[in-house]
Every structure is written in structure tokens, then in C-alpha cells.
């Protein structure tokens, strides 16, 4: 065997919770790594704190640990499992950081670090070492100074000259950086950056703003054979983080000379670094002189490598893993062709466009301006034969209620300073007749790309000029489709309905053909390709005769619709495979496991719209389609698919509709005798006001169709209601507003259940830590419930059973309940969703039952009685889910939680009791809870009566307390130091925090205005990384956790052991 025989057992580090800058791409890479190593008969151990991943499935690796990703914890796993090698390059920056920390701790004695040596990691991560290294190689990098103080920073900028890019050393995804054009901006960013940096270091870089940004994905093996998997060109120039940039692959405006120059540099660098595996190298290329600089080297798989893998069909993670074992590129087969080796460079015969998905719809206060800091939560990838086609397909993949480029108001400032809307503003400027070269000068985007948008504008004008006749001209119609126009967009341009255009298209026999992603531009036969739709030639598709079923994916990762849904789609595909059913998967998210070519039988990389999905299904002719796993994206397609005569598997469309329609749903609840909070439906402000007065404030208001609690708010009076209505009506014109009585001070429960039409299995009841009113996706929760009485639990189970059966659920249903505690406990239903919920993977892992797989099999006709099911109440451990928030990455937003979902990801803590499980969940979420020091308390009036017990407990645990006067006065018999509010002058709480005197904060928000003291304190806590809570419930949980953690050392236990 060519591989290194000394390696028998490998630990793979995952990347932890989904956060901005580190998302689902590492589930893809980690899962691939496990698979790839196991193919070589290596024993694998995986650690990751994120339960919503495929890699933490118990059968992904030989041992799976859902434990906090800290060096201390990982060291315990290394010791316990006696691994002989560590693969840190699959877990993003987290993986690399842990490897470096483990090395420093001396925990790697006898453990071989494979992939990238620790020295290499340090060489590229520390800017000084990196600069030295590149200098020795004679590869140019922007001038850079690493500084540790403001004074040094000013000296540095003297040498470099403005503008400069400032970024803190050793953080995730460039957190806390910025571009400074003058001294004032410079000072601000440097101070912030110094605070953010793990090593109190800030880097001042020579600016290459406006240069082209180009990336290369390079592979190397131990024989020094090197290949470039893919190169990519950012449409947006340097200055906008590559994760924020529209990216095309391969490069479009690089001549062969440019391309080879950067290729040579890439190979030289990877050889010098001694990386065995994959590496991402970013270059800045001067648009005129063609001078280049090396910007960044990532000695690991990355978001870009996931994109490159999906763009070419070449699995970087999989091949990298094998190389890490000592295999060489020519010994590894190209999985797509099965004949040719992995030692080649993919040739593509299509164009890839990647467009980021931003969360600004969730953060009204953010300006949405893009820069060197990543803010997007996810991305879409589209494939076309032209850039025009790829761009238009990408826009409709984004799932932002926009079919194509749409006219968007703009100013010249907007064109220069990119936001999430810039792409549309550029289109608008071109439509307004602005000169391409002038736009290129303002936007720093190559005229090449601007001309492509211009082609779209011209094509639109031609459509409008020709009018409806164009639909009868097969040749002209095909041309339009080749530019990526959807039927809906053509309809908009012609003043027709989408159905009319679709019908005209069918009548002249125009349908997409599906071309292959085959790694080799058709040079060799492909055995396991995947597909994209295009309009080059008439389709020659021949459907197979096998039993087959389609699964619709969830599209880009966004707040409210994260990796959990991809997890469910993958489980559906795997379950169908178990049952020997051919699976067809449609999705457009390049970061995910579902878009891995070996998950389904046939993968279609397509937008998830009515037109694109139906087109695939019309040619594939599956028996049915599963829509309940792809979140709101796929559920929203149910009606159109049903209308098109396509069979929806599992819960029928009518039931989905029934729960979405409040009046129908109320009828059902009344019939079943399940209480809900009083509510009203309003189509206008007047109606809303009437409803609110009937019910009584506070009320929860929201549009009738919601995704992740978008535009949901609790309002306390008429003024707030009026303000909300102005905003919300904009969000959704077609659907009315729901006004619900808000159940103050109640405990929320989340239930996932399976139903086969005859029987119901309650998979798990989760008790929320935070009270009702905080979005269930943002609240921490625990299985099994900790403070709910048996009676209530029985009632929950009964209601769940009745409702699932009544709705005819076949598969999964998620129901949320609230227990109003006062005057006596009463259970209300809040909402029901007859589809997979965000908590499915968490529940599956907590109870050790793969519920998404079972749901899929039920949809194929299996019965619950066919499976081994575990009662969640019988598990002898406790599992806590905690949410992870993007506040650090989105400037100027408040961290207060509410009915709008804001979290990007989740962690799971699992241990023998609630305190320890909660402690682990916090540690995983980056809240390193202190066991000593000062706790600062400041709570709103409403919470003051509840603070005394907390203060007492904290004292008992040995903490010192400080509080604002109001809060301190509310507590008798406990010794609390009083500290000034920020608004009361110095020295105050802000100074104490900056001086590092505060170990933990309890701050509950007092009102809606955010520019108050509380906001400043919370924002500062985020930026300084001080752990904090914003609810009384969480404060109680934290103290319980600290108490448990203080009782002994943290231990680690694999899911396999929990399952025994």
C-alpha cells in the first residue's frame, strides 16, 4: 500500500456552529474526509459541537464526539481515543487554531499532524512569519506591518501611506477589520482591531483596493506533484471580502499569460509550504500593469475550495484526505469518470456564478455596506453556458422574491460603495444609459462583466420591442432562454402571466436540456456526473425506468433556514437509497453535503423555482417529490407542483395550506379542543388596531406567511403598532397581518413528531431556556424538559397526536407550545409546521434516532411500528441546544433577542445533567463561562423582583457583584458594588469592561430604543468577547452551569457511548 502505514486512527476536527465566515462548507469537507479516510480502512474519530451536521451522524465516523471545540477538550479526546494522527485542515480556521493550541499545550506528542504541518499553519497565519516566508520565496505581497499598539500603528502607516487595510491577527474571517482612508478612521479601526485580536495584534496592509481579486485552488502530494483544481475571478474588486463578492469560475478576463503567471506562483508557494493536500491562494492582480500580489494563503479546505469542488466536480476535501494519508494524486481515481486519475486539472465547459446571500433583511439597523469583513450567511452557485445565463440563474436561486435583475434606485455613492443591492443598481444604471467605462471606473468592476449585464438589458429591450410575437419565434425564444431569462421574467416584461409564457414555450417545444458537470469538458465518459439546465440544444433526455423520487433542497443558507434543512435532505436521499429508490436532488447551495455528487443518484444544480423545478421533474418523471425537508423554500413550491400534477409525497399539500391559513387552522384547533392565544387578522392599520384592542396589548404581529420570524414583532401600544404596520406591509403585500395575544412570561416548548397517518411518535419535547417571545430558533433549549410537570407533558403529547392525525401528516411535524404559568399552568399552541424543523438534527442526536430518515421511509409507505424508537424521556443524559449569533460581524446591531430570528447556527452540549450540558453548549458557542471574577447586573424594572435569587446564587458561587444603582437597590441582603451607567459619566461600566474587570454580564433590555445604556453595554460585551446573557432565564441557567462545572473536570463521551 502506498499510504503511510503508521497512520491507523485519525481525529478530524470539525468547524463548530455555523457562523458568518464558517458555514456548511465544512460539514461538506469534514463528511468527505471521514468517507475518504474510511475508504482507506482508517479508523476515524470526529469532533464537532454542531449537531446540525451530517458529519456528526453516528455513522459518519467510527467515533463521533459532539463536544466543545477547545484545545483542552480535544486534547482529552486525543488521549481517550489514542489517535495517531490529527487532520485539522477540514474544520476551517477553528481546526487550524486548535491544532496550533494543541501543539503549544504539548498535547500532540506521538500524534502526527497530517495535511498541513503546524509550522505551515503558523507560517501563513502569522503575518510576520508570512511576510518573511514570501520574501524568501520572492513572491510579492502587499506591504504589511504587524503592530501591537496604536503608536506602532501610526509609525506603520507612515511607511505605507493611505489608504490602508487594517485587520486583526488571528480571528475568524477577518473579524473587526476595515479600510482606513485617513487618520481618524485609522485610529478607530486600529483600536477596535487590537481589542478583537486573539493575540492583540493588528495588521496594517498596503491597500490594493480596486485590483482584481483572483483565487487559485491548488493541490499537492508527497511526490511534489501539483495541480490547480480551479481558478476563480471575483467580479467585485479587492476591498470586498471574497465571501461577499460575486465570483465566477473559471477566470474570464485573464489571458493565458496572466493565468500561467499566477499558476506558477501558486505551485511555487504550495511546494515551499510543504502542504500535502489542498490550499487556497488569493491574489490581487493590477487591472492595467498586471502586477500581482499574494494576498492570502489558506493551508486547508475553505469556502472557496467547496465552491471549486462543486464548480468542477473535483472533490478537493476527499482527495486532500487521501493525500494526507500519504497517497499520491495518480493513485487516487477521479470519482466522476472512474477511469482517469485525480492527477489532472479539471476542464469546464460552462460558467459558474456564485452570489452571496446576505442577512440584512434581519438587521434593519445595518447599512448593508460591504467591505473586507464578511457578512453574508450563505451563497448560491449557478451553472450556465454564458455569464448572462449563470447570473440570472443565480439571482433566482437566491430566494429573495426577485426573479431577475430589477430596477433599483441608486446614487453614485451606492455604485461606488457596494451593498447587497449593488448588482441591481448597476443594472439600473446601465438601463439608464450610463457609459460602461464610466461605471467601470466608479465600481472598479471590469467592463467585461458590466457588458454582460448590458447584454441582459439589451435583450430585455428587444423582448419588449418584439412583444408577444417573440413567443411564437422558436429561434428568438431559444436565444432569450439562452440568456437565462425565466418565464416569469419574460412574462413581467411582456405584461403576461408566467403560465402564459410557460404554455407558449411548451407549445413550441422549448425545454431545457441538462448538460453534465463531468470534470473534463466531455473528453472522457462520465460515470457519476451532475447536471445543470440550459438551452443550447433540444433535450435528448431519456428517463430511467427505475422507481425514483425527487428531493427538493433548501437553497442558500440564511438566518432562519440553515444547514439543518440540508441535513434533512441528505437523510432523505440516504433513506431512499436504503430502499433502493433512485433519488433526484435539486439544490443550488455549493457549500452543502446535499450537493455532493455521491449523495443522490442524480443531482441537479438548479434554482429552486417553480419553472426550474418543474422542468427537471417533467423530464425525470419521478413518482413523487419530497418538499418537507427543504424548509420554506421547498414548501413554498408545494402548491405549484401540486397544480402541475406532480405528486407530493408525505403530508398532502392541503394540510400544509391548512396550517398556513390561520382561519382554517383555528377551525381545526377548535374542533380538537386545543387552545391558542387570542388573535385577529388585519388587512389595514385600522383593522390591526381594532384587533389589538380586542385582544389587549401586548400583541405579537407578523405577516401571515413567515420565514424564520421575518418581520415579527411584539408591540406594546398603538404607536408601536402603527410603526410596525408601515414596515411590515412593505414586506408582504399579498398576505394579511396576524395579530396574536402575546403570552408574557410563559415557557415555550418545541415538539418534533413523526406521523404515519395512523400512529404518532413524539420524537422529542424541548423546553426553551428563554421565555416565549424569543424566536424558537434563537432560544436555547433542552431535552428532556427540566421544569415541566407530567400533566403538561401528557397534554403536549396528546395535542400533538391529535393534531398530527387530524392534519393527515405523513412524515414530520413541528409544533410550538407555550405554558402560561400564571395564575395556573395552561398550555397553548403557538404554531404548527407539517414539515421538518430546524431542530430535527438536534433531536435525532439527543435521542439517537434518525428521525428524518424514518420520515422519508414513512413517506414511502413504512409504518412507525417498523422502527426501533426511543422515548425521549427515557434517555439518561441531557442535551442542550444553544444558538450562535452574528452580532460581532454585523456592525451596529443590538444583541437583544426577540421574535425575529437572528442566530446563524447552533451548538449542542451533551452530558449527564443540565448544568454540565448547558455549560458545554455555552463553551461551544464561544461563551466561556467564568468561575470567578465580577458579574455585572443591570435589569429592566420588570425583572427586578427576580434578580435577588440570582445575586444570592452568584455570591454563593464566589463571584463579586457590581450593578447599576437601580438594580442594586432591588436586592437586599447581598453585597453589591454600585457602578455608574455610561450616561452618568466616568468611571462607569464601560470603563470597567474595557479594563477587563468584568467577567460576565447579565443585562435585560428595558425598551425598544437601542441607543441606550443597555445597547452600549451589550455591544461592547460582544466586541470584547465578554460572555453575557440578556434574559433572566438564561442567567439562571448559566449559574446552574457554572455550579456544575466548578464541581469537577469536564469529561468527554462519544455519541457511540451514549447510544450503548
Amino acid at each position: 500500500m502506498p499510504k503511510d502505514e503508521s497512520i491507523k486512527k485519525v481525529l478530524i476536527i470539525g468547524s463548530g456552529p455555523i457562523q458568518i465566515g464558517q458555514a456548511a462548507e465544512f460539514d461538506y469537507s469534514g463528511s468527505q474526509a471521514c468517507k475518504s479516510l474510511r475508504e482507506e480502512n482508517i479508523e476515524t474519530v470526529l469532533v464537532n459541537s454542531n449537531p446540525a451536521t451530517i458529519q456528526t451522524d453516528i455513522d459518519s465516523a467510527d467515533k463521533v464526539y459532539v463536544e466543545p471545540l477547545t484545545a483542552e477538550v480535544v486534547a482529552k479526546i486525543i488521549e481517550k481515543e489514542q489517535v495517531d494522527a490529527l487532520l485539522p485542515t477540514m474544520g476551517g480556521q477553528t481546526g487550524l487554531n486548535i491544532a496550533v493550541d494543541l501543539d503549544q499545550m504539548g498535547a500532540l506528542d506521538g500524534v502526527k499532524v497530517i495535511g498541513s504541518p503546524v509550522k505551515t499553519i503558523k507560517d501563513v497565519e502569522d503575518r510576520d512569519l508570512f511576510a518573511e516566508f514570501m520574501d524568501r520565496l520572492d513572491e510579492p505581497i502587499p506591504k504589511c506591518h504587524a503592530v501591537n499598539s496604536l503608536e506602532e500603528a501610526f509609525e506603520a502607516v507612515e511607511d505605507i501611506g493611505f489608504p490602508v487595510i487594517v485587520r486583526p491577527g488571528f480571528t475568524l474571517g477577518g473579524t473587526g477589520g476595515g479600510v482606513a482612508n485617513n487618520k481618524k478612521e485609522f485610529e478607530e479601526i486600529v483600536i477596535h482591531g487590537l481589542d478583537m485580536s486573539f493575540n492583540n495584534q493588528v495588521l496594517i496592509d498596503e491597500s490594493v483596493l480596486g485590483w482584481q481579486e483572483i483565487e487559485y485552488e491548488v493541490m499537492r502530494d508527497k511526490n511534489d506533484s501539483c495541480i490547480i483544481v480551479c481558478n476563480m475571478e471575483n467580479v467585485d474588486a479587492m476591498g470586498i471580502h471574497t465571501g461577499e463578492s460575486i465570483v465566477v469560475a473559471p477566470t474570464q478576463t485573464l489571458s493565458d499569460e496572466d493565468n500561467q503567471k499566477l499558476r506558477n506562483a501558486s505551485i511555487k508557494i504550495i511546494r515551499a509550504l510543504g502542504i500535502q493536500g489542498g490550499c487556497n491562494i488569493q491574489f490581487a492582480l493590477h487591472p492595467e500593469t498586471r502586477e500581482y500580489k499574494v494576498i492570502e494563503v489558506n493551508p486547508r479546505v475553505s469556502r472557496s475550495s467547496a465552491l471549486a469542488s462543486k464548480a468542477t466536480g473535483y472533490s478537493i476535501a476527499k482527495v486532500s484526505s487521501k493525500i494526507a494519508l500519504g497517497m499520491t494524486l495518480d493513485e487516487i481515481k477521479n470519482d466522476i469518470t472512474k477511469e482517469t486519475p485525480a492527477s489532472f486539472e479539471p476542464a469546464v465547459d460552462y460558467v459558474i456564478a456564485k452570489v452571496p446571500r446576505w442577512p440584512f433583511d434581519k438587521f434593519k439597523t445595518s447599512s448593508g455596506e460591504l467591505g473586507v469583513q464578511m457578512q453574508s450567511t450563505g451563497e448560491v452557485m449557478s451553472i450556465g453556458r454564458t455569464i448572462e445565463e449563470a447570473l440570472q440563474k443565480a439571482i433566482r436561486s437566491l430566494d429573495i422574491d426577485q426573479e431577475a435583475f430589477e430596477y433599483t434606485e441608486y446614487t453614485d455613492y451606492d455604485l461606488e460603495h457596494a451593498t447587497d443591492l449593488r448588482m441591481f443598481q448597476i443594472y439600473s444604471a446601465i438601463k439608464d444609459g450610463r457609459d460602461i467605462q464610466e461605471l467601470a471606473d466608479i465600481t472598479k468592476i471590469s467592463p467585461f462583466f458590466l457588458n454582460k449585464i448590458k447584454n441582459i438589458v439589451i435583450c430585455e429591450e428587444n423582448i419588449q420591442k418584439q412583444g408577444k410575437d417573440v413567443l411564437n419565434d422558436a429561434k428568438a425564444f431559444r436565444k432569450i432562454k439562452q440568456y437565462g431569462f425565466s418565464d416569469k421574467r419574460i412574462a413581467e416584461l411582456l405584461g403576461l402571466s408566467e403560465d402564459e409564457v410557460a404554455q407558449a414555450r411548451h407549445e413550441i417545444g422549448l425545454a431545457p436540456e441538462y448538460k453534465m458537470v463531468d470534470t473534463c469538458a466531455a473528453e472522457f465518459e462520465a460515470k457519476t456526473p451532475y447536471y445543470y439546465g440550459t438551452y443550447d440544444s433540444p433535450s435528448k433526455f431519456k428517463p430511467t425506468d427505475n422507481k425514483k423520487i425527487a428531493v427538493l433542497g433548501a437553497g442558500p443558507i440564511r438566518i432562519g433556514q440553515g444547514i439543518e434543512f440540508d441535513y434533512c435532505c441528505v437523510h432523505a436521499a440516504l433513506a431512499l437509497k436504503d430502499e433502493n429508490v433512485e433519488t433526484i436532488l435539486i439544490n443550488n447551495n455549493p457549500e452543502t453535503v446535499s450537493t455532493d455528487y455521491d449523495i443522490s443518484d442524480r443531482l441537479y444544480f438548479e434554482p429552486l423555482t417553480k419553472e426550474d423545478v418543474i422542468a427537471v421533474l417533467e423530464q425525470e418523471k419521478p413518482e413523487g417529490v419530497i418538499v418537507q425537508f427543504g424548509g420554506q423554500t421547498s414548501i413554498n413550491l408545494a402548491e405549484s407542483l401540486d397544480d402541475a400534477g406532480i405528486k407530493i409525497l408525505g403530508t398532502p399539500f392541503e394540510s400544509i395550506d391548512m396550517v398556513e391559513d390561520r382561519e382554517q387552522f383555528t377551525e381545526v384547533l377548535n374542533e380538537l379542543g386545543i387552545p391558542q392565544a387570542d388573535y385577529g387578522i388585519a388587512n389595514s392599520l385600522d383593522e390591526a388596531r381594532d384587533a389589538a384592542h380586542n385582544i389587549g396589548f401586548p400583541v405579537l404581529v407578523r405577516p401571515s406567511y413567515v420565514l424564520g420570524g421575518r418581520a415579527m414583532e411584539i408591540v406594546y401600544d398603538d404607536n408601536e403598532l402603527e410603526e410596525y404596520m408601515k414596515e411590515a406591509v412593505k414586506v408582504s403585500k399579498e398576505h394579511p397581518i396576524l395579530v396574536d395575544k402575546f403570552l408574557e412570561d410563559s415557557i415555550e416548548l418545541d415538539v418534533d413528531a413523526l406521523c404515519d397517518g395512523e400512529d404518532v411518535y413524539v420524537c422529542g419535547i424541548m423546553e426553551h431556556i428563554e421565555e416565549a417571545g424569543i424566536h424558537s430558533g434563537d432560544s436555547a433549549c433542552v431535552i428532556p424538559p427540566q421544569s415541566v410537570s407530567k400533566d403538561i407533558i401528557d397534554q403536549v403529547e396528546e395535542y400533538t397526536r391529535k393534531l398530527a392525525l387530524k392534519l393527515g401528516v405523513i412524515g414530520l411535524i413541528n409544533i410550538q407550545y407555550a405554558i402560561k404559568v400564571d395564575p395556573e399552568p395552561k398550555l397553548y399552541i403557538i404554531e404548527a409546521n407539517p414539515r421538518a424543523s430546524r431542530t430535527v438534527p438536534f433531536v435525532s442526536k439527543a435521542i439517537g434516532v434518525p428521525i428524518a430518515k424514518i420520515a422519508s421511509k414513512i413517506m414511502l409507505g413504512a409504518k412507525l411500528s417498523d422502527f426501533d424508537l426511543v422515548n425521549y424521556a427515557d434517555i439518561d443524559h441531557v442535551a442542550v441546544k444553544e444558538s450562535v449569533f452574528p452580532f460581532l460581524k454585523i456592525p451596529d446591531v443590538d444583541s437583544v433577542l426577540g421574535p425575529e430570528m437572528k442566530s446563524t447556527g447552533e451548538t449542542m452540549g451533551i452530558d449527564k445533567n443540565f448544568g454540565l450540558a448547558y455549560y458545554k453548549s455555552q463553551l461551544s458557542a464561544g461563551n466561556n463561562l467564568p468561575t470567578e471574577g465580577k458579574i455585572f447586573i443591570s435589569v429592566r424594572d420588570l425583572d427586578k423582583p427576580k434578580i435577588a435569587s440570582i445575586a444570592k446564587k452568584a455570591k454563593e458561587l464566589g463571584f463579586d457583584l457590581i450593578a447599576t444603582k437601580g438594580t442594586a437597590d432591588a436586592v437586599d441582603d447581598v453585597d453589591i458594588d454600585i457602578i455608574r451607567k455610561v450616561s452618568q459619566g466616568s468611571p462607569n461600566i464601560r470603563d470597567a469592561m474595557l479594563n477587563g474587570e468584568v467577567a460576565f454580564l447579565i443585562n435585560t433590555p428595558s425598551g425598544k430604543q437601542s441607543a441606550d445604556d443597555g445597547y452600549i453595554i451589550r455591544r461592547l460585551a460582544i466586541e470584547l468577547g465578554i460572555p453575557y446573557v440578556t434574559t433572566i432565564a438564561a442567567a439562571n441557567a448559566v449559574l446552574k452551569a457554572i455550579e456544575e462545572a466548578a464541581n469537577g473536570e469536564l469529561t468527554v463521551k462519544s455519541l457511540n457511548e451514549y447510544a450503548e
Partner: protein, 363 residues
């Protein structure tokens, strides 16, 4: 105004597209290249004489045309087939657009072709004769032209591209090299010049005696178009010169050398054209990405009975990529170490050649 153009194939297929470049009709053997950059270098590569080039990458012309990238004085390919051509290129070195370039050179181009479908056809049926028409012409006439077009393997294309007279490229130096020009690329010459040796280009028909009279220390048999069997006079030259000095061969050069020493050559189904061909060096195990452009290959089984040995192989299909003479200093490769287009990973070939010359001379 978009003009309709046609592409007719030997199997009876007629495809319609949009014409660009010159308004004319040209026939040749249609081949596909998977290189994603480098259309200027490919179009001007004399090896494409007699062939209609089709790019599998769908967008061509994006970065325009610079004379710096030419591999010869003008376009050598007979016609160019693409999915989408760019009329508004964007690159600081660009002097003209790709359509303008074709027009100046009297070469027809056709865009709007489903190049992937056509590639699949060629993969299945093999390279075939084709004709591109950028003028108003009937289908019957088109097929008549196609019929009259000789097969690539029956043509002597080298004589169309070789220099007519010896041409000194770099004045005499300590070591001197003659390049037997079968259709040499500018990059090959540039690489030799960079080696600081005297370089003279000589016609492909140059005899051994003429070479000896030039007092050079080694010869390089260049790449070029067409069937190696049709340039048999070179074999005599090689056989004699090979006894006296090192010889290097590139692409067609390798094939001619193989024939000279008794190996057999066959025409491949659709050849190798692209920038991503993996070549393994059998001595080190290292794999290099290479730029390739050839329709013919050495039959590996025929090597055994000769004085040649295979030193490198193609990992996709196992074809010989480099051969060496067991006793004489003759080394050649099937791919393009000079790049243009493609990877620069194999530049060392030129170092090795010049080192071999130096060693040989010292002995």
C-alpha cells in the same frame, strides 16, 4: 448585423450559428481543445494547419488579442468554432478583438454552436472532416467542398508551414542549435534563445550534411501539423545526425523520431488537445500537467523491438509521452514544454537538452 454561418460535418450534420471573422468558406479536420485560456496561441500554432479548432470552453475572445501571444505570424487554424465570442474584449494588452483578428487573417469563425454536443459527437465518432461557411452557400455546395477536402493524414502540411530558407534567430554562441522547423512555435524558439545558445531555424527538408555544414551541437525537431509519416525525408536526417549529436523532439518531432528508430505511429480517435493532460515521469513518479495538441501517437507495443524506451506516460490513457534512445542522446516528448497555451511546468526540458549538448561536447 449578425450573419448566419454554417458548419457542416462529414457525417452529414449541418449546424447553424452566427458568423464572425472573415466571410469565407474553409474546410479541414475538426478537433476540440479543452484549454480554457490561450486561444490566440492556439489559433496561431502551426500544428493546427489543416484543422478547424473548436474550444470546449464556451466563452472565447474575452481578453482580446495581443501580438505578444502569437506563436507564428498569423492564424494557422482553418476556422474557429465557439459557443460565444466576445466582441468587446477587456485586457490592457489587447490590440483587437478576436473577430477582428480572424477577419484580418481571412479565417472564418462561427459562434452560437453547442460545442459540448459537438465534442461528444467527436468523442464518439472521432475527428472528422468539416467545413465552416461564413457566406451564403447552399448545403449541397458545402458538402461538395467537404467531399473534395483531402483527409488530414493524406496531406503534407509541414511543407506549408516550414521556413523556406535557414533563418538565424540568435547569432552563434558557445553552443549552437538548429531547429528543424516542422511548424515551430514562437515559444519553442524563445525558450531556446533564453538558454543562451545560438539558434538557427532550418527547413524541414534540410539534409544531415547541411546540418553538419552548419557546425551546430544539437538539433531540435519541432512540433508541427499533420501526419508524421508524410515527412519521411526528415527520418534520414535524424538517423545520420543522431549518431553525431543530441537530438530533442517535441510533439510531431517525437513522432518522427519514433518512426526513424522503428516504432509505429497511429492516428488517435480524437487526439489530445488541452492544458490539463497528466504526464507521469516513470523515474520520479512525479506527475506534471502538460499542454498538448496532437492527433497521432506512438504505438507503445511497437517500442519494444526498437532501441527506444518510454520514460513518461499519459495517465488518462497510458499513451507514451516521452521516449529516449537507449544509447544515443535522443530525448523527446509528445507534449509542449514551451507552453503557450498551458502550464509552464515542464520548461526543464530545454535545460535538459542544452545540458545534454554540453555534456556531449565535453565528451
Amino acid at each position: 448585423m449578425v450573419r448566419t454561418a454554417k458548419l457542416a460535418l462529414e457525417d452529414g450534420t449541418i449546424l447553424e450559428g452566427e458568423g464572425f471573422g472573415a466571410e469565407t468558406v474553409k474546410a479541414g479536420e475538426i478537433v476540440f481543445s479543452t484549454a480554457m485560456t490561450g486561444y490566440v496561441a492556439s489559433l496561431t500554432d502551426p500544428s493546427f494547419k489543416g484543422q478547424i479548432l473548436m474550444s470546449t470552453y464556451p466563452l472565447e475572445g474575452n481578453y482580446g488579442v495581443s501580438s505578444e501571444w502569437y506563436q507564428s505570424d498569423d492564424i494557422k487554424a482553418e476556422a474557429y468554432v465557439v459557443r460565444q465570442v466576445c466582441y468587446e474584449p477587456c485586457h490592457p494588452k489587447s490590440e483587437k478583438s478576436l473577430p477582428e483578428f480572424l477577419e484580418e487573417n481571412g479565417v472564418p469563425g462561427i459562434s452560437g454552436i453547442d460545442t459540448r454536443s459537438l465534442t461528444l459527437k467527436i468523442r464518439e465518432l472521432g475527428s472528422m472532416k468539416a467545413v465552416v461557411a461564413n457566406t451564403d452557400i447552399s448545403d449541397e455546395e458545402l458538402f461538395k467542398i467537404l467531399e473534395q477536402q483531402p483527409r488530414l493524414e493524406d496531406m503534407n502540411l509541414v511543407e506549408k508551414v516550414t521556413v523556406k530558407e535557414p533563418k538565424v534567430i540568435q547569432e552563434r554562441k558557445e553552443y549552437n542549435v538548429a531547429v528543424l522547423d516542422c511548424g515551430v512555435k514562437k515559444n519553442i524558439i524563445d525558450h531556446l534563445v533564453a538558454q543562451d545558445v545560438g539558434v538557427t531555424l532550418v527547413p524541414a527538408t534540410t539534409t544531415a550534411q547541411e546540418i553538419f555544414d552548419m557546425d551546430v551541437d544539437g538539433i531540435l525537431v519541432s512540433s508541427g501539423p499533420g501526419n508524421p509519416e508524410n515527412v519521411d525525408t526528415i527520418q534520414d536526417t535524424i538517423r545520420e545526425v543522431g549518431q553525431k549529436m543530441p537530438i530533442a523532439g517535441i510533439c510531431l518531432g517525437q513522432q518522427i523520431i519514433a518512426l526513424t528508430y522503428g516504432a509505429k505511429i497511429y492516428k488517435m480517435k480524437f487526439g489530445h488537445r488541452g492544458s490539463n493532460q497528466p504526464v507521469k515521469h516513470l523515474d520520479t513518479g512525479r506527475v506534471y500537467m502538460t499542454s498538448q495538441n496532437h492527433s497521432f501517437s506512438i504505438d507503445p507495443d511497437s517500442i519494444e523491438s526498437t532501441d527506444l524506451e518510454i520514460t513518461q506516460i499519459n495517465l488518462n490513457d497510458g499513451t507514451p509521452e516521452a521516449i529516449a534512445h537507449k544509447t544515443l542522446p535522443i530525448r523527446c516528448i509528445q507534449y509542449h514544454p514551451e507552453a503557450g497555451p498551458g502550464p509552464h511546468d515542464s520548461k526543464v526540458f530545454f535545460d535538459n537538452f542544452v545540458n545534454a549538448i554540453k555534456e556531449y561536447k565535453e565528451k
